[in-house]
């Protein structure tokens, strides 16, 4: 495990892979009321854990760099367009909550990438974006391939360490709730290891699986229709709700840590 501890350069704006700069509300305008539609039970609504680096940037009125690194769902699969995928919509949602702040989002997700493959890119591509926050979505591709659980757990731990060494806060995002593949694909053990990784490391776990399961059970979304139009509507809704919930998680974290200064 090589730890790449870099000196902290200034907040460069010369980013290579900036997909999205702050814009107001995005395409998902028509009748989307996330506060009621995307409601979840209180115990998964927000962890209340702090994001000190994000809070510090906001306080200093500096640009908040966010990197999303994940696999298929984060690269925009399912959404009707890239702009409808949750990473792109996240800046819009954050803009509503922090109207005076500036967020810069870099999406480095690639379909089918394993946790170990993403972790190899932390010191290079992720570091180059100088993020204050890294949203690391993983576990699905590893479950599909049946990656050994113990080594998956080790990659999570060393990966979080590497990101922390970049002076970034970390949000881990677990798998999607995928009802049709449940009997063939068990992401449960991988989600367990993610839950355990944050117990020994400082990171926030975003319970995407439990949220999507809740929305399906509540009838907010319905994946059983084979019609293309229904699918697209549901998929965009999920991406929108994920973006909304992520933004609320970040808001809660910043507020909970508002009293104290960011610790290095």
């Amino acid at each position: 495990m090589t730890r790449n501890r870099r000196t902290r350069p200034g907040h460069g704006l010369s980013l290579a892979a900036v997909l999205f700069l702050l814009l107001g509300g995005t395409a998902a305008a028509e009748g989307f009321d996330p506060e009621t539609t995307c409601a979840v039970p209180e115990e998964i609504a927000g962890t209340g854990l702090p994001l000190p680096h994000v809070a510090a940037k906001l306080k200093a009125r500096e640009v908040v760099g966010i990197v999303v690194i994940g696999s298929g769902s984060s690269s925009g699969m399912g959404a009707s367009s890239l702009a409808e995928a949750y990473p792109a919509r996240l800046t819009g949602e954050l803009g509503k909550l922090f109207p005076d702040a500036k967020f810069e989002l870099t999406n480095l997700s690639k379909r089918g990438q394993l946790a170990s493959e993403m972790e190899e890119r932390f010191a290079t591509e992720v570091a180059a974006a100088h993020p204050a926050l890294v949203i690391w979505q993983t576990g699905t591709a590893d479950a599909v391939k049946g990656v050994d659980l113990a080594s998956f757990g080790q990659v999570l731990e060393s990966g979080i360490d590497k990101l922390r060494a970049l002076d970034a806060d970390v949000i881990l995002m677990n798998s999607q709730y995928s009802p049709h593949t449940l009997t063939a694909l068990d992401t449960g053990p991988y989600r367990d290891y993610m839950r355990w990784a944050i117990q020994s490391r400082s990171a926030i776990l975003f319970h995407r699986y439990t949220m999507m399961k809740y929305w399906v059970e509540e009838g907010v979304i319905d994946f059983s229709s084979p019609s293309k139009a229904d699918q697209t509507r549901n998929d965009d809704l999920v991406h929108g709700c994920i973006a909304y919930r992520l933004a609320r998680e970040i808001e809660g974290a910043v507020k909970s840590g508002a009293g104290e200064d960011a610790k290095e």
């Binding site: 115990e43 998964i44 962890t47 696999s71 298929g72 769902s73 699969m77 399912g78 959404a79 379909r111 089918g112 699905t140 591709a141 479950a143 599909v144 391939k145 049946g146 990656v147 050994d148 659980l149 113990a150 757990g153 798998s175 999607q176 995928s178 009802p179 049709h180 593949t181 449940l182 009997t183 063939a184 694909l185 068990d186 449960g188 053990p189 367990d192 290891y193 839950r195 355990w196 990784a197 117990q199 020994s200 319970h207 399961k213 399906v216 059970e217 994946f223 059983s224 084979p226 699918q231 549901n234 998929d235 999920v238």
Partner: protein, 402 residues
């Protein structure tokens, strides 16, 4: 206290074979708890089912797999130990291998049903949102490799992992049983040593795709099977199998409480802070693949408390309401296969037709009712066959139990 434990261990390892020959009475506890494990396995295999809240895995580290493997070792030792003592090694070995073959055929049958269901889902649902998840069915595109690897037990889809484990454990069981009859201490020592090697090196049987091991590592899980087989040897003798020791009981209960609290912290995120960070970094991860010591101790504590609380002649085992569980436990292979098929179908119904709580309850009850009906049917058939063979031969020699 210590001397009592020492006496028990001594008895366990120096049991008089003559005493064991007459262990005729069937222990209903085995059937009851194996039946319970089968019901739990069925419920746990329907992921979108709220009813699986009642199963044991939510309240500690271990789950129904441990119960199933332990009782399988225990009853294999009862069923084939007697044969080996009375009729010799070769007949016992032949019977064990015949059982092994039945399990293998059952596993391949389940694999075919599983594949058919997956193929249907893959052809009907292609929501791009789940295209990454759907890669799990890519094995359908390469039947030549997949089928051969499945026959070799190297390719085992999720939820079809328990039978292959049971198969390889039984495959070497003739030798284990032979050694258990002669040098039980050595067998336990060798088994524990192998388990230790796994913990240190993570050695595992090769799987498919290449590079990945078995989800249930047989080199680790064999320890539980051997412990079961060892305890099964003293089954039916006059003394209780396990000494009643209050300190041991207290430690077991304390450990179960600890496991319960930790497990609760997984279910209810608000409770997460009750596990301090240093405890978390000490105990996590808890490997199911390698039967983590935390799981093993959890199950052994549970088994000890159960043996303490439930005597072999506990009245509730003979109550009418216990009969369905006992019957399922007595027909474990068929009921197990049925439970897998039923959990696939039940899950399919829930995601395709109706996923309300009423539907989840109905699917759970209907599935268990069908498992019970199958067990009664098989029991009736078996008794009828036995009665006929008695008529023909005029002898009342009981059929071997398995």
């Amino acid at each position: 206290m210590v001397t009592r434990a020492a006496r028990f261990l001594k008895r366990l390892f120096t049991v008089d074979p003559a005493e064991l020959v007459r262990s005729g009475q069937r222990d209903l506890r085995l059937d009851f708890f194996r039946g319970l494990a089968l019901w739990f396995i069925f419920l746990d295999h329907i992921p979108s089912n709220l009813v699986n809240w009642i199963t044991v895995r939510n309240y500690g580290f271990s789950d129904a797999t441990e119960i199933f493997i332990f009782i399988s070792g225990y009853s294999a030792s009862i069923a084939y130990g007697g044969t080996m003592r009375r009729r010799g090694f070769w007949l016992a070995a032949a019977r064990i291998l015949r059982r092994c073959w039945q399990l293998y055929v059952a596993h391949i049958f389940l694999f075919v049903i599983f594949t058919a269901q997956i193929a249907y889902v893959a052809s009907r649902f292609n929501n791009p949102m789940f295209s990454e998840e759907m890669q799990v069915v890519d094995f359908l595109n390469d039947p030549s490799a997949t089928l051969v690897q499945a026959l070799l037990l190297k390719f085992r889809p999720a939820n079809l992992d328990i039978l292959p484990l049971y198969i390889v454990l039984l495959l070497v069981f003739p030798l284990v049983l032979w050694a258990l009859e002669r040098r039980p201490v050595w067998v336990l020592a060798a088994s524990a040593f192998l388990y230790g090697v796994v913990l240190a090196t993570r050695v595992n049987l090769p799987g498919y795709p290449p590079g990945e091991g078995w989800f249930f590592n047989p080199f680790a899980w064999q320890l539980l099977f051997v412990i079961g087989a060892l305890l099964g040897r003293v089954h039916g003798s006059a003394q209780p199998a396990v000494p009643r020791n209050r300190v041991l009981l207290g430690s077991a209960l304390a450990y179960l409480l600890f496991a319960f609290l930790v497990a609760m912290s997984w279910q209810i995120p608000l409770l997460a802070p009750i596990v301090p960070q240093w405890v978390g970094s000490l105990i996590y991860p808890i490997s199911k693949t390698d039967l983590d010591p935390l799981r093993l101790i959890d199950f052994l504590s549970l088994a000890y408390v159960t043996m303490w609380l439930v005597a072999a002649d506990a009245p509730f085992l003979k109550w009418r309401v216990s009969r369905p569980l006992v019957r399922c436990g007595q027909q474990s292979l068929y009921v197990f296969c049925a439970s897998i098929v039923l959990s696939f179908s039940g899950h399919f119904f829930l995601i395709e037709v109706n996923d309300s709580f009423a539907a989840q309850l109905a699917v759970s009850v209907a599935g268990i009712a069908l498992m019970v009906a199958l067990a009664y049917l098989l029991g009736w058939y078996r008794r009828a066959e036995r009665a006929e063979s008695v008529e023909h031969k005029g002898s009342a020699r009981p059929l071997p139990r398995a």
